[in-house]
Symmetry: C2
């Protein structure tokens, strides 16, 4: 029997994630503290409103919304989003998708044949990396700096590989996953200029910009391309309600040129036929009732003390050689250990201390891994868990640094 | 500017469906009757129960179910389905997917590289055809007979192309879309034997078997492969709640070998991350409350008179040369006109009479089109609309047959 040979080559190449399995196993351990996830705080979910609205839309519009819908999404939700966000786009320049993952997937299929090149920030969101790799794309990394991707490196890459094969640049400009860093306005403008000049699309993944906890908001790349460069078609923007209302609802949207949206709708039709309609309508009703702005305040008020706590705890407990940049929002903070230390090894020592994180090596394209970074989530654990967890993690770091071949030594 | 060259080759090859645009345009015309859709009757949607259950699951389990979930689906729903259907499968042999379309998509990606072969019934569901084509699969048709696909043709095709490149055989054994035909038990068994011998998977698409309106149920191919041939791994079965509770909920499931389900879960993760969780939990609660069996009776009681009506009306009004096989359930009936008549042309004449259907040519793989069939849906229009609509369609058929170059002449 040779059934195994029947699997597609791209399927067979997909990586299984041992670390994810390990993290799953830690979930049952009493007293275990995890900074590994990427989940919002369940405290922030507007359960009472949503329960009521789900019931209401089914009772009032069930005959319609339990039926098949348009692949591009329900117009009531599109209109509600346009009004809420003050967008100047048409209904045919927007797709409602099943979470940001689905929007990114549809955009990728619209543009990518196996062998095509995607440029990404390095490190970047591992979910997108595995998606791009599973489609046979060649992924080239550009290093992250404190103010966003290194644009000199980007120019070098484009010069080296030619702009024809490079289909898009994937960026998370606000509170990036995993680094928590935000791209400056200057860099956003320069990125648009580079992309325009070389005819390369920008895929702007924006799950976090609404989670600003300090500092001043910066225009999205989509807005900059449209308003300053009159080239809205350059950017495919993916925005999500997952971090605002709950990822279980799977409601996100894409903004792009209508030709691209039309192709993305064709892919959505093949992949899902229709995005789940009851949650589309419930979210539309939530927006129409004007509930979002006060809800956003509740979320930022919930997360601000958590961000403050993790910074305080890191400052109090981490050894001097551990570096990070304080994020101004989002859900993540990135720690950098000295270059000769490996956070894959740290992971085992941390689990012994009953604390978990995501090792940084997972956030680089295959072949470009670096091993001295790690990602911490600060929105899921409580304030008390954050302080205790960072204490434990600091202990694990010190143990790793004190191991005979580390080159570091601590006097305890 | 050469932005158009940036689209992937598979995207650029996707067909746009002019007929779908036309059908959409007819929806606003007062008094227009459509047999073109594939929608269940909104009358059958259990709105009262669902409204209540959606509210309840959010209020009781919102902290969990508004969060990210397992890519393979919620275990509560899997357990409820296993109990309801009396399945003897493990949780890791099942995927909850976002409608049957999503399950078919995930299965296809698990098995298909561009250039691989898929064998389909001819005619077959156009949604699956465009999905397979968009992934670069080569699609080979096997003719439909009154008792299911022509297995002699299937054997010939396997002999000609070799079994290595043929990844799976796609079949809708019960009340097939578009023909309404059902595969006999004997053919199901023979199909399993052929597939086993040649090491070719079977993708069994089963959206309709619960909609049996006459005759005796036949074991699914998944059951036959498991029970009689001890080769459950041969079949990937896709089953859906779309026709029972409403397609807007996007709840379906796949049954397969756990290795295949594992790969399908990996694809689902890339495509959607998680299937919408509130509707998963509401459907689980619907099943747990034991509401499905009486609800299925309500549906068959709703559809039985509609099927009877369309047959009566066809017998009363259609010209003698028009042939069909009475379906025993499902949602569709297939008309065959004499071979020299073209139902694409008939479509225009029908729209003039304010009635629409789906021309048969859409249901064949590219390059294998036949033009003398057409699909009628009998679950969406009312009894009165069915009778009036068939009268109109019969008139359009007669007008087409009477046109100078048709070779037919009627004395009106």
């Amino acid at each position: 029997m040779h059934w195994n040979k029947k699997y597609s080559q791209l399927t067979q190449k997909m990586k299984s994630s041992m670390i994810m399995d390990l993290i799953e196993k830690t979930q049952g351990i009493p007293g275990f503290i995890s900074f590994a996830g990427g989940s919002p705080s369940a405290e922030t979910f507007p359960k009472k409103h949503l329960g009521q609205l789900f019931k209401q839309v089914i009772e009032e519009k069930g005959d319609d919304i339990l039926q098949y819908g348009s692949s591009g999404g329900d117009k009531e939700l599109k209109q509600a989003i346009i009004k809420e966000e003050g967008l100047s786009v048409g209904l045919d320049e927007m797709q409602i998708c099943s979470g940001a993952a689905n929007g990114i997937y549809n955009a990728m299929r619209t543009l990518i044949d196996p062998g095509d090149i995607i440029i990404v920030e390095s490190p970047t969101f591992l979910g997108s990396l595995v998606t791009f790799e599973a489609a046979g794309a060649k992924i080239l990394p550009v290093a992250m700096q404190a103010d966003g991707m290194d644009l000199d490196q980007l120019n070098d890459l484009i010069r080296k590989h030619g702009s024809k094969k490079i289909k898009f640049i994937y960026t998370i400009p606000d509170f990036q996953n995993p680094t928590g860093l935000t791209m400056s306005l200057e860099k956003r403008e320069e990125l648009v200029e580079i992309a325009l000049k070389n005819e390369i699309f920008i895929l702007e993944d924006d799950p976090y910009s609404k989670l600003r906890l300090a500092g001043t908001p910066i225009d999205s790349i989509f807005e900059i391309a449209g308003k300053k460069y009159h080239s809205q078609m350059l950017v495919i923007a993916i925005r999500s309600f997952s971090k605002l209302l709950g990822p279980g609802l799977r409601i996100a949207y894409a903004l792009a040129d209508k030709k691209i949206i039309n192709y993305m709708d064709s892919w959505l039709q093949k992949v899902n036929n229709t995005t789940e309609r009851v949650s589309q309508q419930a979210v539309a009703a939530f927006l129409d009732k004007g509930l979002l702005s006060s809800h956003k305040m509740l979320i930022t008020e919930t997360y601000r003390p958590l961000l403050k706590q993790i910074i305080t705890s890191l400052q109090a407990h981490m050894p001097y050689d551990i570096k990070w940049v304080n994020p101004q929002g989002g859900m993540f903070l990135w720690l950098e250990l000295p270059e000769d230390l490996n956070t894959d090894e740290l992971f085992d020592k941390a689990v012994e201390q009953k604390v978990a994180f995501l090792p940084g090596s997972k956030f680089y394209p295959t072949g470009y891994e670096k091993h001295n970074g790690l990602r911490l989530n600060f929105t899921f654990p409580t304030k008390e868990q954050i302080d205790e967890g960072i204490k434990r993690l600091s202990k694990a770091v010190k143990i790793l640094m004190s191991s005979p071949n580390s080159g570091f030594h601590f006097l305890d």
